[in-house]
Amino acid sequence: MLATESAAVVSNEQLNEHTWLMRVQVPAIAQRVKPGQFVQVRVTGTYDPFLRTPLSVHDCDPTQGTIDLLYQTVGTSTRLLSEYTKSTPLNILGPLGRGFTLPAPASNNFALLVAGGIGIAPMLLLARKLVANQISTRLLYGARSVSELVRIDAFERLGVTVACSTDDGSYGITGNVVDLLAGFLQSGVAGEIFACGPNPMLRALQALVREKKLSAQLSLEAYMACGLGACLGCAVPVPGGGYKHVCTDGPVFDEREVQL
């Protein structure tokens, strides 16, 4: 049963200039959330900001009944969210959307997680499930600069191999994460690709996997109002015309389903 849930803020920690990590107590959601799903956070009880904020679930602990949200302060809602403390009530709707499709447990499959910028958000819970399913998992992670790379230690603690790229060369290879992926694919190791990041990155990644005849699952972001399939605001074009909706058809799509 989908419901809105009153949430208690457990912690809200600033990781760099614009990135925050919030842990909230939402037992019902923590029990049911799957990698790649998102929640709709109501930041205030007032009408401004008006809409809920869609955030992917970064991690979850069903035993403690908590989920983690990794977010950037890009607008009024997220700026307000960054000021939240333990005493501030929140309301969270979820879990929403179709998440990642995971390979069969203990299969010989190999998972390649590709994240650009805040696209790292849905990857930790995905990595946790993959590792638990004994799927060998590697993270390719790109950002503009070293200061924007966050949570690498959390992946390494899971036993995930991490390789990075930065636009300014301050950490890892110089370039973007699709360059990093292209380089990695040279090695001839093909795995399931799971990607999340800004649209230009996903477009480049889509071109690359098509050229290499690989498959990929893309987690998309879109402006949305309801998150429930009612407003039809979060349209993403599909090949041959028409649209799918990020909230209910996605946010994770097979790359062949969407025209970025």
Binding site: M1, L2, A3, T4, R42, Y47, D48, P49, F50, L51, R52, G75, L93, A222, Y223, M224, A225, C226, L228, G229, A230, C231, L232, G233, C234, A235, V236, P237, G241, G242, Y243
Partner: protein
């Protein structure tokens, strides 16, 4: 003491005066986890057209101060899909279903109305006020002659109660309501969204793919309330009020201004249980005021 929440919209009897507005509640089914759909006064389904429509290019939504702009562009799977797929489910759930219909031409409106004379449909809402499509929609709702023509023609194909949804993007809303009434409308619903715009100063482009879109949410409530009040005084048919209703208190304001029922719109996006909470809140207000029927509230504004 139990209060009577039932209202009549012409020959349409509603168990309570709270409906959900077209385009904000899907086909109702998207919200069935949040409450009993049959307990609502009614569900006005997504604007339905003769042929499927893909809708407008993204970006379709932008948040604004105490509201939002949308330019969805009437994306819907078409009337045949609605009748085959959604209507049977709504009928099984006992939902009071109102179908919002939109066309490119008067003939399309008439064909649609004829197709929709079906068991399980309680009423039709004629959408002549969508601001986000090039042909039809608001083009029909902003000229007296066009309003008269489309309402009069559709009336001939419609035995069901016919609600005409007006655009607020006109000079004299009361006049438009009178034209719709004279042409055969059984009820008037208002307001659709106010045409608006948002600009991104970094890219120096309009935020919405369609350049302009419809403003909804609490930001428009005072305008909606004023228009409902003006229309309620100008026509004899019942008025259904909407525009920024977030709470029972908001809904009661519309009832006092002469609305016989209200629709909940953008609030559904923010708090999916709003419609049910508004029903409960109206009942509580009536009990608190010592009133036995919601009908005592309608038009009860003291001037």
């Amino acid at each position: 003491m139990a209060v009577d929440l039932s209202v009549n919209i012409g020959s349409l009897k509603l168990k309570n005066p709270v409906l959900t507005a077209s385009g904000t509640f899907g086909y109702g089914l998207e919200f069935r986890n949040f409450g009993d759909l049959s307990a609502l006064g009614g569900v006005v389904v997504k604007g339905t057209t003769l042929e499927p429509r893909a809708g407008n290019p993204p970006q379709r939504i932008v948040e604004t101060a105490a509201g939002m702009l949308n330019s969805i562009g009437l994306e819907n799977p078409g009337v045949d899909h609605f009748l085959a797929h959604y209507l049977p489910q709504l009928r099984d759930l006992g939902v009071t279903t109102v179908v919002n219909l939109a066309g490119n031409t008067v003939e399309e409106y008439c064909q649609l109305a004829a197709r929709l004379q079906q068991p399980g449909i309680a009423a039709l809402e004629l959408n002549i006020s969508c601001p986000n499509v090039k042909a039809g929609g608001m083009a029909f709702g902003t000229s007296e002659a066009a309003v008269h023509e489309v309402v009069e023609q559709v009336r001939r194909h419609c035995q069901l109660p016919l609600i005409v949804k007006l655009s607020p993007n006109v000079t004299d809303i009361a006049r438009m309501a009178q034209v719709a009434e004279a042409a055969g409308a059984d009820a008037i619903s208002l307001i659709n969204t106010l045409l608006g715009m948002a600009v991104d100063i970094r890219t120096r482009r309009p935020v919405l793919g369609n350049m302009v879109g419809g403003l909804s949410g609490p930001a428009i409530k005072p305008v909606a309330l004023r228009m409902v009040w003006q229309v309620a005084q100008a026509v004899k048919v019942p008025v259904i009020g909407m525009g920024g209703i977030m709470s029972a208190e908001d809904a009661i304001e519309f009832l006092l201004c002469g609305a016989s029922a209200v629709q909940i719109g953008a609030a559904n996006f923010v708090e999916p249980t709003t419609a049910w909470r508004v029903i409960d809140g109206i009942a509580a207000y009536l009990a608190e005021q010592g009133m036995t029927s919601v009908q005592e509230l309608i038009g009860g504004l003291q001037i």
